[in-house]
Amino acid sequence: MASEKRLRIKTLIMVLAMVVCAVTGDLLLKRGMSELGAVHFTASALAQALLHMATSATIWLGILFLVGFMATQMTVMSWADYSYVMPAGAFGYALQTFLAVVVLHEVVSTKRWIGVFLICIGVVLVGQTKPRSTECAVREKAVASC
């Protein structure tokens, strides 16, 4: 019972870290690309865009957060069900909407708020289920075969 509670808490912390990394990474990439402006499909414009991407600290920071997202997602999926992690990760859409209102002062439509509400109920429902329904591999065996 205690181990199940520990597993649930560990999974929720990792899912939250995964969502925060994804949302922060997306926001930083958006900010970094907005500094550049609209990219046109000409050789010189694309070269300029690539140069900007390679030298922008905001974009590199965004990439770092997205790498963090990938790492946390792989880690949490090593013990938790895919059908648990995938819908729980959709909480990022709700977080993005909250951030858009609070940080960017954007106006959000009623339709979008209903969507956020449905996502939150869905995430709570999935969160009630057991994070793991299958057996995990023993790591030592995998290390030997990798």
């Binding site: 792989m74 999926m77 895919y82 995938m86 449905l118 709570v124 591999a137 995998a142």
Partner: protein, 122 residues
């Protein structure tokens, strides 16, 4: 017709890729401790797993399908349809990964799918 095909690649590529990576991560086994060294070692092991290497091209195909769809259709059309990947993912988890997807989890997945579609359309 080509749009339907690309939507198929978009949905099945992303869920198929994630399912393959999830399977690879489970085959590797969870890290014993949440320490940076242990986590880096674990990620390196997942990345040299065949399932991970299968998942990456599937996700790349899905990404390119998304880019092409964005050039043909508005975002408010593409993203709500791509939310179906939550349902396809739950089906894949049940039948391919043999996970136990109970009624509460199905209800949650369907609500999330509808919610994501509304957020994207809104």
């Amino acid at each position: 017709m080509l749009t339907v095909l690309l939507l198929f690649v978009l949905i099945c590529g992303s869920t198929g890729g994630e399912i393959a990576i999830s399977h690879g991560a489970k085959k590797t086994g969870e890290p014993k401790r949440m320490r940076p060294r242990e986590l880096l070692l674990f990620i390196g092991q997942v990345m040299c797993n065949g399932w991970f290497l299968l998942g990456i091209p599937l996700m790349a195909a899905s990404f390119f399908a998304l880019l092409i769809l964005f050039s043909w259709h508005p975002l408010s059309f593409v993203i709500p349809i791509s939310a179906l990947s939550y349902v396809v993912g739950a089906l894949g988890a049940k039948y391919l990964l043999k996970e136990e997807v109970n009624t509460a989890r199905w209800a949650g997945v369907i609500l999330v799918c509808a919610g994501v579609a509304l957020v994207a359309a809104g």
